[in-house]
Symmetry: C2
Subunit: 343 residues, 2 copies
């Protein structure tokens, strides 16, 4: 249903932390290019095929009605990343990349390679939800609607602090070797997964023993070993995991154009950025999300001058509620997103 993975070559591409001499954005398309375009970028830990949970005639994003473009974040292993960039910008020498860099690259793909004139909607989950804010701030006349799911217009201080945990566990591990590992740093990746795990779901989810996944696992330890060590081992490169976190930590729409890794916090610029959004938003945080809690979304929506609306996902699945983790939340998202797209 999806196209084969396409690669857009940007050539020499400036990014916040330096330059990518031959930057590539990987993407896929679904449906008829003449249909209204929906842009759907990846999240942390996401690959292009991870996006399938939302795309299809019977899903939230109907590929028979819309031309859907999925785009891979830099550092996800498909677009330019530490793991796939040749020397001298390989591995630990890959520069820091901002959300702004990503969206600028994605805009080039959508407008130059695909010749899209307007985005009917930008949708995203988690880091994808953050990109869904960047798009209408950076290109206010291009984007008509946006749907951030479990995301925010800037990475909160708490969020920055929490993600520092798994990142440091990997950076300080016995086999990461400052990114110069010559074989997979399994010890570090396992530590990363474990230090991450408890953040992804709400406390009530654990209280209900949902980590047993309906009998798939026999204990918390079994769950952690399979899902949070096994989920990254052999699949994710350690330097990719690190640079993608740096992008995440840098998220803040008020810093667009300011050199994101050095600019000071500016509350007024944040308000101005959100007030400048022309697109209509459907803001969907999850009630029990420990890193993008609804309170941040409430604050942000109050800074927008348009008719955006807030719809909270009432789920114990925490952050994962928006990521295709369970049928009930998937159905809720589908219903709300379809209604919003047809309004």
């Amino acid at each position: 249903m999806a196209s084969a993975i396409q690669h857009y070559r940007h050539g020499r591409f400036r990014v916040a932390g330096g330059v990518l001499p031959d930057a590539v954005t990987a993407y896929c398309t679904y449906g008829d290019p003449a249909s209204p375009c929906i842009i759907f970028p990846t999240c942390y830990g996401g690959r292009l095929d991870s996006q399938d949970y939302m795309i299809g005639p019977d899903k939230a994003l109907d590929s028979t009605k819309y031309f859907i473009v999925t785009l891979a974040l830099f550092s996800n292993g498909e677009s330019s990343s530490p793991s796939n960039t040749p020397p001298p910008y390989n591995g630990p020498y890959f520069p820091d990349v901002s959300y702004e860099d990503n969206i600028r690259a994605q805009y080039a793909v959508v407008t130059k390679a695909l010749n899209v004139k307007k985005a009917y909607c930008v949708v995203g989950f988690s880091m994808g939800g953050q990109q869904a804010y960047y798009w209408p701030v950076m290109y206010p006349d291009f984007v008509e609607r946006f749907i951030p799911i479990c995301g925010s217009a800037r990475t909160s201080m708490h969020n920055k602090c929490f993600i520092e945990g798994p990142m440091t566990a990997l950076l300080h591990s016995k086999d990461f070797d400052h990114g110069h590992y010559t074989k997979e740093p399994q010890v570090g990746i396992r530590a990363f997964g474990r230090a991450y795990s408890a953040w992804a779901y709400g406390q009530a989810w654990f209280r209900q023993h949902q980590y047993l996944m309906g009998g798939q696992y026999c204990s918390l330890e079994d769950f952690l070993r399979h899902e949070w060590e096994g989920g990254f081992l052999g699949v994710w490169d350690a330097n990719d995991l690190i640079t993608l976190i740096r992008t995440w930590q840098s998220g803040d729409v008020s810093l667009i154009g300011k050199g994101v890794f050095s600019a000071p916090h500016d509350e007024d610029a944040f308000k101005t950025a959100l007030a400048g959004i022309k697109a209509k938003g459907l803001i969907m945080p999850c009630k029990t999300d420990l890193y993008f809690p609804p309170e941040d979304s409430e604050f942000e929506i109050n800074l927008m001058s348009n008719s955006s609306k807030l719809v909270v996902i009432d789920s114990v699945w925490g952050h994962m509620a928006g990521g295709g983790s369970n049928a009930v939340d998937d159905e809720f998202l589908k219903t709300e997103i379809r209604k919003f797209l047809e309004e």
Copy 2:
């Protein structure tokens, strides 16, 4: 005001994970031994002198009215710990110790060394709060009142999972060396602190930029470096940090007498254990505590057959609200605790 630190020698002492050939419990006393006795054990990261924030004529526990006994957990560096036990039980060879072992040892101190006949109250914060549950379950006719502050009668699955994060960051670090380090494993301890930090406070606390501590720090990074790396470096032994977490993870009053590191989960036994408490409890979770959330306390208090009451600390300080972190919460605790003790 406090006595000098005393050391009670248990001799050969069986613990859940083996034996301590010459176990020591460190403790202090405050006030007149003829006054009603209040027992106040330490928390994770706590030393005997950490208890001073609650003790004094003008504080929650008035040492002119009560005979207060503070007791150090095994593995806190003052009672028997990996760091102070001679070979062959030193460092990584120190056995796993349960809460039950700790309370049995503390009971010996209080009854044999101090000749106390009744505990007027057992008070504790965090791991101390968990001990405050163990006391009335293990010695129902000895304890009259108990006050768990930001604690629970068993360590929730979410709590076990979260604390796995900082623990694994240290265990997998480049210098921990399976506990055989010959100098302080600074890299591991720093990773431990960072992976721990975001759990200790609520999201709102970060949103209010409280990590700047009223100007003491200039950034989140500054705060993490000083408080969460510096707070452990040179002060806490890495093996002590690990074994103390194993005690924490094993917390569950339903497992008393059953070999805590192997017994299966038993919901009925948990209900029976809580229903058997005769002491009157003042249960004080914090509204924004990410690891001992009020929902767990509500569940637990409903299993108790007596007149215990729940008073939630309404604070953005998260878990730290109960640990002497700020004057407003300290005052609230003082008022509620004094009222309860005088009822």
